[in-house]
Symmetry: C2
């Protein structure tokens, strides 16, 4: 207990806890050690001290919570479901915060197939929305990310996440936020603020300045509801894959991809993955033959690729649309990728036939079965079904468990950190980034797993995944250093992360120029006069006298 609290008994976490307990149903306020510890865990070293966990079930409770927090000056860190893997999961950006866990606010309030949107609360998971839509006939698809079936949709949208379908760029795929300000007051953004509720869900804007995007990657308000935009089930959905083994062809591949994106040929967001990224989905670190302090040798890496039929680079993109258009787009993509790599396409028909064959030919080589399974998962994912498969990559160096065991990365003590810089999507930039990061990972003895998502034609979002054995302290230390070096290298190339882990946010906002920092502090004060919402999260906060420590 801090000195302030002994003096000012009406402020601080103890006072707040007492008032929250008084004002809210019994099961909302939790400060037992187990609950607090569960929300303080990450997939990398630091465990964050959590003062308490509040689990409201409705917006009125959120308002009450914020009123009390505001009066007691206690920092509150809102999470949706806390599955922000590799970026800090549920951990607050400031030690000793109270976690506002919105996972019980999980209502799907409205689904409109015609205009293709769903109004949801933060606790709604990818799996939940997908199933609700399927149960109504599946006329519209959500966009799914690789964060797994239990990840929150709203949480991902608010962290500027992305997926695979034509609605992949989440920052532009929602409208009509309902949010609670620092003092507990409720606002609605956009047209709904004027009472125009219907267009408020299908159009951004106001009229007047767009507040919506201020609530992305920020700490200005607690978002309690939004309309996320869906994608009408297309007549055809084809998985388009291009495998490139010749390293020298990488620039040509990237140039072709950018052109195909500008042309609207690759209608989903294409992902470009290196060999380690794909291998991480298929297998795990070969502890029996390789040395984890140095990582795989080039020869072992090549052999591993051959063993799994994985290319040096793999382009994966969904091509969505009416059949006649999808056929034309596949033709165009084949034309531009001629001589660059080996193209294959998979659609539902083809997959069904192959699976039918496989069922009756049980002696098919294991690799073909694996290929089929992987193709099936890809098609599911690209159709909005949030399969767990991609999470496997985080288990690459785990010695005993894998994602398919149904555990979760925190209980399984997975060692995983991600850094995700934005790069200009040109052959030159991709090669420079790849080479710089590859060298660093080699130096630290890690396998450099990379995907670059060509989210909008002109830029790519890189995700560099460092996975390690958390039971090995030295390896964890190397992982931390490696991530720091990668971040520095990206920065030297002029690339900043599109998204930050909770542990890196303070350092980031310290780099802001003074004018912008002062401006955003004042904006913060406008939304949250006491600076109690997620202090330190993305935006600067003045938090010197907050009563967070308990």
């Amino acid at each position: 207990m801090s000195t302030q609290q002994t003096i000012e008994t009406t402020q601080g976490a103890d006072a707040a806890l007492w008032r929250w307990r008084e004002a809210l149903p019994d099961d909302v306020v939790r400060d037992d050690a187990e609950t607090r510890q569960a929300r303080g865990r990450t997939t990398f070293c630091p465990t964050v001290e959590v003062a308490a966990v509040l689990r409201p079930t409705c917006v009125e409770q959120v308002q009450r919570i914020m009123q009390i927090a505001s009066e007691c000056r206690v920092p509150v860190y809102p999470i949706s479901r806390g599955q922000n893997w590799g970026y800090g999961s549920a951990t607050p950006s400031r030690e000793g915060s109270v976690v506002l866990d919105l996972s019980r606010m999980n209502r799907i309030i409205e689904i409109d197939e015609k205009l293709a949107y769903a109004v949801i609360e933060p606790g709604v998971t990818q799996r939940q929305l997908y199933e609700a839509l399927q149960a109504r006939g599946g006329d519209v698809w959500p966009d799914a990310t690789g964060a797994g079936p239990n990840a929150s949709i709203v949480g991902n949208f608010l962290d500027r996440g992305f997926g695979h379908t034509p609605a992949a760029d989440h920052q532009n795929q929602f409208a009509g936020i309902e949010a609670v300000l620092g003092n507990g007051e409720l606002i609605r953004t956009g047209y709904a603020s004027l009472g125009a509720n219907r267009i408020g869900k299908i159009a951004r804007g106001g009229p007047g300045a767009g507040i919506d995007t201020m609530l992305i990657q920020s700490n200005l308000a607690v978002v309690t509801r939004m309309a996320v935009w869906l994608y009408p089930r297309p007549e055809a959905c084809t998985v388009f894959v291009c495998k490139v083994n010749d390293e020298a062809k990488l620039p040509a591949l990237v140039e072709a991809m950018r052109k195909l994106r500008f042309e609207g040929v690759l209608t989903g967001a294409p992902h470009l993955a290196n060999d380690y990224r794909v291998l991480g989905l298929r297998d795990r670190f070969p502890y029996d033959t390789a040395d984890p302090t140095t990582g795989l040798t080039d020869e072992q890496r090549a052999a591993f690729r051959r063993q799994h039929g994985v290319a040096r680079w793999t382009l994966l993109a969904g091509i969505y649309g009416p059949k006649v258009q999808v056929r034309a787009n596949i033709r165009r993509a084949r034309t531009l990728l001629r001589g660059v790599g080996k193209v294959l396409t998979i659609n539902e028909d083809l997959l069904n036939k192959a699976q039918w064959v496989a069922r009756f030919v049980p002696m098919l080589p294991a690799r073909l079965h694996a290929d089929l399974e992987s193709a099936s998962e890809m098609l599911q994912m690209l159709s909005g079904d949030p399969v767990a498969g991609p999470m496997q990559a985080a288990y690459w160096r785990h010695r005993t468990r894998c994602a398919a065991d149904g555990g979760d990365p925190l209980s399984d003590r997975v060692g995983y950190r991600g850094i995700s810089p934005v790069i200009p999507f040109t052959g030159e930039d991709v090669v420079a980034f790849d080479q710089a990061c590859e060298a660093i990972c080699k130096k630290f003895g890690f396998e450099f797993a990379l995907t670059i998502t060509n989210l909008v034609p002109r830029h790519g979002i890189c995700v560099v995944s460092i996975t390690y054995d958390r039971e090995n302290e030295a390896e964890e230390q190397r992982a931390i250093e490696c991530v720091d070096k990668l971040t520095d290298a990206a920065r030297r190339l002029g690339c900043e992360p599109y998204r930050l882990p909770t542990w890196g946010m303070a350092a980031q906002s310290a780099r802001w120029p003074t004018t912008l920092r002062d401006l955003m502090l004042n904006v913060k004060t406008a939304f949250d006069p006491q600076h109690i919402i997620a202090p330190g999260r993305y935006l600067p906060s003045e938090m010197s006298d907050l009563k967070s420590q308990i």
Copy 2:
């Protein structure tokens, strides 16, 4: 001169003018009657009092201007080129403001064909950028609006404007703003704020909250530079037209359009225009046969349509992409529109052939010549060439001049007001909106000209244009009442305007709920402590003690 100024000689417009003159080159500060009057004119009744016009040539001058304005507490209204036709042109949202005319800041700072962007200042016109790009080979196209060749690009983007190409939705087609705050300090948004200048021009975001969209439709800062995104010249660009004469087919047309938009078949932003909107491009009010106090009768309207070969409803969309894809998309669009209307497509080849024929067959009926000219203009516009043609619609009821005379709507005393509600893009909603507005226009004796742009699949932006004879005071009075009634009717249908005229902004922000109003006032204070930037423009300002009157 107000009483305050006699007392506080260091504040107010007189003091500011004196200091601006001292600090800036001679040709920057203008307060002669002619210049002031020129910037106070609109295409509808109110003329706004302008205290002075400042014409800086660089950002340092803008900063100096704002420092002085801030110290003297004088409201400053920034304009780019002031061609905001039908929404107030250059007029300030508050009487007695100083107009900050940025038209001399017209540098194209950078063009990047590969990543398809241009960094420009607010004074750069549509024509200027188009020509600069053409001079470099035309590998990338800008998106053009119907505001004419001399309209500012930045000004349109900042008012949430839209055009025709796949980059039509301007609010999502830029990054990297440079702006001056109320106190004269300079900020950069997004990645550039961290020194990552290159990705700052090609990616939105931060990391951290997106300030960019807060500067759209707002009065928070003076934008002095931005990177606007361009569209690489496609292999094919076809004008796709569907003419529908059977009123009963309107809902089917709208439903097909929405589907084609979700499918990515109509790759440009489709415009749906009623007969009067198209007639307004071809001809003018027939004063010799029709009565302007009642408007055209149904019979006259039908005859006028027949005379010009104009349909009751016309869908106009660009289909852009590689040839194989454009062909497929045209096939798909034809399939979905079968039985709905008559489809025709025009591309450059076809147009060249037709023009060649026309040149050698001078006795071709005039209507065919007009059709050819109109097709050629459409293709130009859809290719980013900002033709003056669409402005003709504003001259519909002008008795003597037309846009082709090369005048401008202000000198020509054009009578033109626009209202532009957002509606859900469904057959039902379009019919309800059309019928409600049609009835009101008839009642007031105006021809109801409507376009609906299906900017994103799920909503449409309506532009209802009321054009009238400004020399006729009674008609002007009727136009004002008609626009008010149209706005009310739209509101009853749940539709709010996507964009406001300067004269309607105060009324709009008065409708905001108190919480949001107070919040935005505080945000305003964060960006512009003295509330001197465009008080009353979109966002609320507290302006009771500003020294605006002179």
